[in-house]
Amino acid sequence: MFFFYIYNRSRASHRLWSSAPLCATDTIFALSSGQGKCGVAVVRVSGPASALALRGLTGPDRPPAPRTAALRSIFHPQSKEILDRGLVFWFPGPHSFTGEDSAEFHVHGGPAVVSGVLDALGSLPGLRPAEAGEFTRRAFHAGKLGLTEVEGLGDLIHAETEAQRRQALRQMAGDLAQLYRDWSQRLTQCLAHVEAFIDFGEDDLIEDGVLDQVDNSVAQLQTEITCHLHDGRKGERLRSGVQVVIAGETNAGKSSLLNLLCRRPAAIVSPIAGTTRDVVETCLDIGGFPVLLSDTAGLRETADAVEQEGVRRAREKVEQADLTLVVVDATQLPTDPLQVPVFLGAHLLAVLPHGVGLEESLRHCILVLNKSDLLPVEQVEKTQTFLNKNPGLPPASLLSCHTSHGLENFMTSLQSRLSSLCGDPLAGTPSLTQARHRAHLHECFQALGQYQQYRDVDLALAAEGVRLALTGLGRITGKVGAEEILDIIFRDFCIGK
């Protein structure tokens, strides 16, 4: 009898179109153009599987020549559904922005097309949505950035992280958040029980029944996550646009500002403090940028339960905002201009959230000093001049919602903030956050499969599956550390040896 030994050493892996050496990194993708009124959206891919992504979405034929635009139909690799027709680029490493193999898809700017392409990329093996600043960071590590460019990089990443955090907060405020948190808790419990069985099962009274419970929970979680993933976009309706929130003390004229901006009485205004008790939202187009404008209840201590809830919602809204318009009653301003910064500083402190650091909040804020019509003309001028040259404060506009005086000045200031916010590709793009969530949930689902695969073969590898699942979910809900696992172990079991 003959046996054939086939030496698989010689099976060199052939890589189509590529010249860069294989490196052991993930392939990442992200929308890299801004939102707002743009005809074309750019989706960027970087990493060793870039060629695969390009093939997957445009078919195996006719690879584009390096660094040359090619017009292709772009389709979903699984459903084969045509998503768009657009330009694709292939940048073999090291001659690319990140130094790795990269690809770009220039598609039509609508949200449906963009999220379709992001979804399609996320469905390919080895691809995942980029973390904040990851493209730039890779470029930095590849030595593709000069020192001066690096200087600004930290701030950029900071901004991206912040934008993602706010976006996540918005999404986490709903039912979805409740669902993810529940999964995370159940998964943490599963992991704690598997770990207890591994670390203490031999000496202490931890019965095999513990693992049966875990088996059930894991199977249950798998079912729920699959259903959720297939249910997908029908889930939570996400509103896109820059979230601008009007906040301030009662009776400063917040609702008047909303009405002025949308040129219709969207909110009830009255001279009675506490008129607005809930959040009033309206969609606007300001200078070409999509804006979701919210008016909130005036912030004050109150005994009225309904108003208290309104104040709570107002604070939550401010925390999730991309931009906060802090409205101040100008008639309360001290007459001595030198006292003004202290007065306004105290106001800002009362309105803006402290959790993330005040510096950060200040960068996302415009001060609106309303009721200028009630001030003497010379004080208006003096104050405006003073505010213009006080760099310690966020941009401030003195205006009158009543007479529209100073509105133009304010609009210029607002539009410049909006354009910088919309230039940031990650701010307020729910589709990207959603793609990220889907990728992490998928990761979680697959890792749970590892638990089941190894459950009866090797418990260490099975536990690894639960750990990976929790890590995946933790990227949405927040990290669970070793100490928290141990806390559950010692809470649920009597460890005596």
Partner: protein, 688 residues
């Protein structure tokens, strides 16, 4: 052989008298190790292996290597530490193989990554082995006595730290001994007090004199270190003849004992001579006695932090009332007439201890040889240490073992090895090194201690290691022995050669396995036991087939005797390697990322509060408080932001070359390192 070595009385045994004779004179050596427990003995041995002239100071030579608490070694997580200590050529693994009387691999059914090699030990044999090793070790002198005070002088201004420790002053003779490094391993003796019932007495272990308060004062008042207080306890020892073992459940050892050490050919104890353990359960009566005696039990009433695991029987029944709790009766040795009741640590008055024991059927007539007691002791908050275990503010002072807030022999030994290596290297002007948590449990242990600190006595669990499936007991030699010889310098040539041979054998065998490829149909014919699925497409290598649950390397070797026959001695390790390799490959990427960040050291003298880098006030305060040694450690801090990490990365990259040179020096080459470049970095990670 062993007996002869002890009887020979090598030079160090004669030393105490000669030391006494020359009292009050000043002597000097490279490294002084204070304490002869598991941390101290490993530290002294490691320092001498590195090449330093070392002096071990202990209260009684007779108690060197004593097992003060349980007569056992290893277990889940702890067994991994023993294997790693052994891979770095430490004593513990070989001592366990010499003294073990009951060997078993815990978690045998749960996957090799979490197997827990464990043994019951014969107390005198363990002590004898450790003493014989130490007393015949070149460059090591052992002296009896206790240290009253640390000698402290002005710091070397070129290095971080407010003080420099230059030696010790002995208590009885007042003699001064100078050294470049001092390792403190005082265990529970630092301001230790013993508790039993309502009586309290000073001391760190029953039967031993308390240590002077001088050391505690040196640490607290002179060096300004932050201390905390912890508690632990030990059970009463029971006369075996008074126990009705027919009422206990027999627990037999493994039929084929597995040695701890990579270089032991077997265990000293013959398989058939091994002793059994016994399992019994508590009764409601036990709970009753605990509750009735609470007012007479001052240890349990104190609020000093005790461990949540290995707690006393008092805290077990109070926290989980109405349950049966397991108690293991463990042999104390081949000739001992005592049993050690694991799980019955208690601090009530002795008469009540007897009453409690007698509530358990098998112990109805139990008599005790010594009652259980509790200990409270000071520890130094370990966040004040570098990853080399050197005290940040005191140049030349190293701490290891319970003084750092850990519990357990294995945790102590692991730190001992590393403190000994670090102290020895410092004395010889070699750059300090650190072990990464991605490559060893020792690294996990030290990183947790110095990075996060402790709130209860720290014990190793496998769940603390993120890369548990890569850090297995079977591959500790591949992970540590080669580096231990080439980079660290603490491994003997003999052990190194064995590890090299092992590594070569394994990798040849793995390529041979990968080179055998057949179609699934052919595999089914060749190896019917493997149950290769008919639906599988493509060709399969023998390595893939070895991953099947029911396939052993021996099966493959008998199917392919010419190609695989030569590797049968590696059979078990090859099976494990094949199982875990795909998963370890996946982890490698994450490990590399962490190592990359860990290779970027953060200067220790930097003033974070005024650093001209864009950092938020919160992050500045966090960095100032914790002072992470590397970018990797910084990124693991809760509250750290990606942007802050990038700014730090940018800062390091821009910092002048003086700091960069140290990073490249993972191969020790002291000549090329100016003191300046070395000391802006606390530790250089051991290369991969």
């Amino acid at each position: 052989m062993l007996a002869r070595r002890v009887l020979n009385r090598p030079r160090s045994l004669a030393s105490p008298s000669s030391w006494a004779a020359s009292a009050r004179t000043v002597t000097a050596c490279d490294v002084i190790v204070v304490g002869g427990g598991h941390a101290g003995t490993e530290a002294a041995a490691a320092a001498t292996r590195v090449g330093a002239e070392t002096l071990l100071v202990t209260q009684k030579i007779q108690t060197i290597g004593a097992l003060s608490c349980n007569p056992s070694l290893g277990g889940v997580g702890k067994g991994q530490l023993v294997r790693e200590v052994d891979a770095l050529d430490g004593l513990m693994g070989r001592a366990g193989d010499w003294a073990g009387v009951h060997f078993s691999i815990l978690n045998r059914s749960k996957g090799p990554a979490v197997w827990g090699p464990r043994a019951q030990l014969d107390r005198p044999r363990y002590r004898q082995f450790i003493q014989a090793e130490l007393l015949s070790m070149p460059r090591l002198t052992v002296v009896e006595g206790s240290v009253e005070e640390l000698l402290v002088s002005e710091p070397d201004p070129e290095k971080p730290g407010k003080h420099r420790v230059t030696g010790v002053r002995m208590a009885d003779t007042g003699r001064i001994i100078l050294a470049r490094s001092v390792v403190l391993t005082t265990g529970t003796f630092l301001s230790g007090s013993l508790f039993m019932g309502q009586t309290t007495s000073p001391g760190g272990r029953m039967g031993d004199p308390p240590s002077g308060s001088g050391l505690s004062r040196s640490l607290k008042e002179v060096l300004g270190l932050r201390l905390g207080r912890l508690r632990t306890g030990t059970p009463p020892r029971i006369f075996k003849r008074s126990v009705d073992l027919s009422l206990a459940q027999l627990q037999l050892p493994d039929q084929r004992p597995t040695p701890f050490s990579f270089i032991s050919n077997g265990t000293h104890c013959k398989p058939e001579e091994q002793l059994p353990c016994y399992l019994i359960n508590t009764t409601p009566g036990v709970e009753r006695v605990v509750r009735e005696s609470l007012h007479l039990n001052s240890h349990i009433q104190q609020d000093t932090r005790g461990p949540r695991y290995c707690p006393s029987i008092e805290s077990r029944v109070l926290r989980f009332p109405g349950r049966q709790h397991q108690v293991w009766l463990e042999p104390e040795g081949l000739t001992s007439d005592l049993l050690y009741p694991q799980g019955l640590s208690m601090t009530m008055p002795p008469d009540l201890q007897v009453r409690l024991l007698r509530e358990i059927p098998a112990l109805r007539k139990a008599e005790i040889q010594a009652p259980g007691y509790g200990v409270q002791y000071d520890f130094v908050c370990p966040t004040q240490l570098f990853p080399s275990l050197e005290v940040r503010s005191a140049q030349g002072l190293f701490l290891a073992g319970q003084i750092n807030g850990t519990t357990g022999y294995e945790e102590a030994a692991a730190q001992g090895v590393w403190a000994g290596v670090s102290a020895g290297r410092r004395a010889l002007s070699l750059p300090p090194l650190s072990l990464s948590r991605t490559q060893s449990y020792i690294g996990v242990l030290i990183d947790d201690l110095v990075g996060r600190g402790i709130t209860e006595p720290y014990r190793m669990f496998t769940s603390r290691a993120e890369f548990r499936t890569s850090l297995r007991p079977d591959n500790a030699d591949l992970r540590l022995t080669l580096k231990g010889y080439c980079d660290i310098g603490c491994v003997s040539p003999r052990r190194y050669e064995e590890a090299v041979r092992m590594k070569a054998g394994l990798s040849e065998a793995l390529s041979a396995l990968q080179d055998i490829t057949l179609s699934p149909t052919r595999w089914r014919e060749k190896l019917p036991q493997a149950a290769v699925s008919a639906n599988k497409s493509g060709i399969m290598s023998a390595e893939e087939v070895l991953q099947y649950k029911d396939v052993s390397f021996e099966m493959l070797a008998s199917a392919f005797p010419d190609v695989l026959g030569p590797y049968v001695e590696f059979a078990e390790r090859l099976k494990i390697e094949a199982m875990y390799r795909p998963h370890c490959e996946k982890q490698r990427r994450e490990i590399e990322r962490i190592l990359q960040e860990e290779s970027l050291s953060l200067p220790q003298d930097v003033d974070y509060l005024s650093l001209p880098v864009s950092l938020s006030q919160e992050v500045r305060e966090l960095l100032d408080r914790v002072r992470p040694a590397t970018l990797g450690a910084a990124s693991r801090l809760p509250g750290m932001t990606p942007a802050a990490i990038l700014h730090l990365l940018n800062y390091i990259t821009r910092t002048p070359q003086r700091d960069r040179s140290a990073e490249r020096s993972s191969t020790p080459d002291p000549q090329n390192l100016s003191d300046e470049s070395r000391d802006s970095f606390p530790c250089v990670p051991v290369s991969q």
